[in-house]
């Protein structure tokens, strides 16, 4: 199964008996979605979201020797949009992350590769002014 999120393509395990929902192994959750399970809930950077106690038993499951999160239920709670075609799931932006970005006006960090093949993060340029400019061949 493939998850497209945060500009990355991640191949992850698929739950064999899953019925239409996107289940993600907790160990693969950070790389595939950016979220990480912690005692206080699911965390993405400084944002931590507790799982509803009433849903915890349904959203976290032991299966195929692994612990899984029902990510589609979690995404629905967040208002995060997703779309699926076959074994490929594409996850949209998380509204709360966008809202926090709008309020703070802090530029969202990203990682790209430059023409020399070097990885470049926007946060590498802290302390400097940055002009971002997009263009395309089309």
């Amino acid at each position: 199964m493939i998850i497209l999120a945060n500009g990355k393509t991640n191949e992850v395990a698929q739950r064999t008996d899953a019925d239409g929902a996107l289940w993600v192994r907790l160990g693969e959750l950070p790389a595939a979605t950016g979220w990480q399970m912690k005692p206080q809930g699911a965390c993405l950077g400084e944002l931590c979201v507790p799982l509803p106690e009433s849903q915890r038993g349904e959203w976290i499951a032991d299966a195929d020797d692994w612990v899984w999160l029902n990510y589609s239920e979690f995404a629905d709670m967040l208002g995060q949009k997703y779309v699926r075609d076959g074994d490929v799931w594409s996850l949209g932006s998380i509204p709360e992350v966008r809202r926090m970005g709008l309020e703070s006006a802090v530029a969202p960090d990203f990682e790209v590769t430059d023409r020399n093949g070097d990885t470049l993060r926007l946060s590498d340029f802290r302390g400097h002014k940055v002009v971002l400019f997009t263009w395309s061949s089309w």
Binding site: K81, S90, P95, R99, P108, W138
Partner: protein
Amino acid sequence: MAQDSGGPGAVDKWFDRAKPTYRCVVDPTHEISSLFGWVNVPSAAWIDENGKIVRSNEGVYPAETTVGFGLGKVRLGDDSFAEATRDWIERGADSEHVWSSRELAERLKPVDDDRLLAEATFKLALHFEAVGDSERALKHFAAAQDLAPDNWNYQRQGWTHKGTAYATLQILRRTSDMRKNTDKSFYDPTELPGENFRRFTEPEWFWTPAVRRVKQLLRR
């Protein structure tokens, strides 16, 4: 930043021609536009030393833009954005072109559910394009375009899947229709002194012959 699903193969010749003295990156999944809420190219942001956005999300055409297929140069803007950028680099927060918190709040808008779904759908289309599944790529490009009809990145990148000539014709048709039928623009206007890109500054004498020319090329 070249925002192009074709990757380096589609953009390297333009980088080479520009002889850039600045860092150049390729963003084949349009991640940066997603993060910054941009809907067309060219778009730009100014980010200060503390990582704060001080200006973003506006059309920033240079004075001259070259249109493909021998259609020549077209004047869509002027040099006011470049001059304003130089002023900000020299004067920082004292530059008159830095936006206030209120102006930023007006420009950095939240997006609705349709546009959030469009983003996920567009990324799915790009994935299928990258793995060579044209049928599914086109299906999801079309869905994303329907969900976010004002996102020109989705329109133009999706059209390009059918070829550059097809995409150019669609752009010319859509812009000509918009000139006639709506007061909408490609992006928010650039609020700078001068004649920077605001709406369709090219008159009908450009667009109509341009559409005819691309149609001729497509028929060959």
